[in-house]
Symmetry: C2
Subunit: 358 residues, 2 copies
């Protein structure tokens, strides 16, 4: 059975303002020193697993041009532009429609476009295992991450033994839980029964669509229409019609939390969701004072800071735990404990009607 990959690349990534903008979100940024953008890294780490022609990118109409520029080898018909963003369930139904029209049935890896993975070979081993589990029967597989500290910013997966000797290393999902408080996160970590929810899924098209039919029947009807129209002149019009009727729904709430036969694997491959500017010091090298510095920077008596220069010299004196990000038209200077509030700046810009900076 064919293995395909569906990359979800419609996110807006407001937390990386001012580098990310509504017209240029995080997945199209390079946040590492190698110059590769997040989505380029996502594709490149998959190529040993799946052919380029079997990688499908679901995105917003306004990002198609960026994808063409950054990923010129992805076939044009594999770039699936949603007429309007309706969260992950419609996005997956759309990709499933195109893939099942092309291959009838196939294994689908569903992957975010803007996460980072340090140990790519370990990642691919985990994905190969997930593909194997998904291709056997009706299993829905969600890739969990072995937690290394009590993170309060992630959802968690509570698992139990599958009880099946043939499924060694694969666990039955007991339930998905929301972002916990620190106390609860510590309990999760100590229990050994929780994984971080990475938002990476593997299943056969037929498996997931059976669950759409059961739990999201209206969306399943849309899937059938989109499959019918795929690779025909009606496709764009059908998409518009279907997405107009779809409710906004995440795959987690819509299916994963309700379906049977959900399995998880515990991945340990240096995963980071790169959720805020703070990630830069985790995913890049820091200097002897704990600073992550890029661009033209003179830092004096400065420690544990993140300084991203642009075209001009940035000189820092006596700073601690400060994030500085320069761009051509806007600059952010933020204490580390305020990184989650970058969206307040965007809200202020909206209030001031300064959409050119958003």
């Amino acid at each position: 059975m064919k293995t395909t990959a569906v990359i979800m690349a419609g996110g807006k990534g407001e937390r990386f303002w001012p580098r990310s903008r509504s017209s240029y979100p995080k997945q199209f940024l390079s946040l590492t020193s190698d110059g590769e953008t997040m989505i380029q890294k996502t594709i490149n780490r998959l190529l040993p697993l799946v052919d380029m022609e079997d990688i499908f990118i679901v995105t917003n109409e306004s990002y198609v041009q960026l994808i063409n520029e950054q990923l010129p080898d992805i076939p044009a018909e594999n770039i699936l532009a949603e007429p309007v963003a309706r969260n992950t369930a419609p996005c997956i139904a759309l990709a499933a429609a195109v893939i099942s029209k092309k291959y009838d049935d196939a294994v689908m890896m569903v992957l975010p476009s803007d996460h980072l993975i340090k140990y790519e070979e370990l990642y691919r081993d985990t994905m190969r295992h997930a593909i194997k589990v998904a291709s056997q029967g009706e299993n829905l597989v969600t890739v969990g991450i072995t937690p290394t500290y009590p993170e309060t910013g992630y959802g968690y997966i509570n698992f139990c033994s599958s009880g099946d000797e043939e499924m060694a290393g694969v666990y039955k999902v007991e339930k998905f839980v929301e972002k916990p408080c620190l106390e609860v996160a510590k309990e999760y970590l100590n229990s050994g029964r929780y994984l971080w929810n990475s938002g990476m899924f593997v299943w056969k098209v037929s498996s997931i669509m059976n669950n759409f039919e059961r739990f999201l029947p209206d969306m399943y009807q849309g899937f059938l229409k989109m499959k019918e129209a795929a690779f025909t002149d009606n496709f764009t019009a059908t998409l518009a019609e279907c997405f107009d009727s779809f409710e906004s729904q995440s795959i987690d709430f819509g299916i994963m939390e309700k379906a049977d036969d959900i399995y998880t694997l515990s991945g340990s491959f240096g995963w980071d969701d790169v959720g805020s500017w703070l990630a830069l010091e985790k995913i890049n090298k820091t200097d002897e004072c704990g600073n992550y510095v890029s661009g033209d920077v003179i830092s004096i008596d400065t420690s544990r800071s993140i300084i991203c220069g642009n075209k001009k010299l940035i000189a820092t004196l006596g700073l601690e735990d400060i994030i500085i990000v320069d761009t051509d038209d806007a600059m952010l200077i933020c204490s580390k404990d305020h990184t989650q509030q970058v969206k307040k700046v965007i809200e202020t810009l909206k209030t001031c009607n300064r959409r050119d900076l958003i």
Copy 2:
């Protein structure tokens, strides 16, 4: 007797980097919201006291063009370009030479070009008083400032009563003292016998030159030569010759600390030497969080900070006691307790041979 003013405008002002540069020092910057530069303010506040044609500006050759641009009404022959900087004593000898050639004798106010005065009418009243005292006899008058807090960054003037009923409000200088530690500064403040040394002087040309003859005889010979050459074709060559021979000497060490008949008046006119970026929050209005902000700035959860924008938006989040100064080619981000170390940045730039940014 004529009253003249000598403005010392040769300073380099490294503490206002990156706005000030060696080619554009502090006296030519506007640091207040009215848009006037420091030297323009210095001249404008004097005009009720002295005619434009009696204002002399001593500066470096490289700043003559800037002075012409910022002060187009100052007569060209009143701009005295030192061939090389030799501190304040030679600067004053040069101005004295030109003034005494023009007027034989006259009262000279000697004034920095880069200080700020809030209450200009009170300032002029004090200066009028100083002019009166200076024009009587051989008195050298230094204008003191009534201290309002135990500043450790200024020199102090220790005074005693003049004992002369005709000299009410004028005090005999006991001694000049260097920048004190905080403990000593507090003692000075409590004693009621100390003023801040503002570096503003008033005397007759004949009074100060008698003291040059006594304490700096070589420089006095230079004064005679420069006076002889003033307003002739030989002036530039004579200046070059004299300044080449002058030792670097401040008027404070060279004369004021040695001479008799030094008097001081206590001024209370909102004086500030604008010695670092910290001055901006003293001399300008701050917002309800204690921030001084200029330019295009969004400040969220930010307090007691100084933010000087340039062309692009600066968004701050969660900052306290931080100074941000943006310019076209360089940016400073500095904690308030490091303002005296801005020169470290300049030293680093020198080491890296990046003279374009100094």
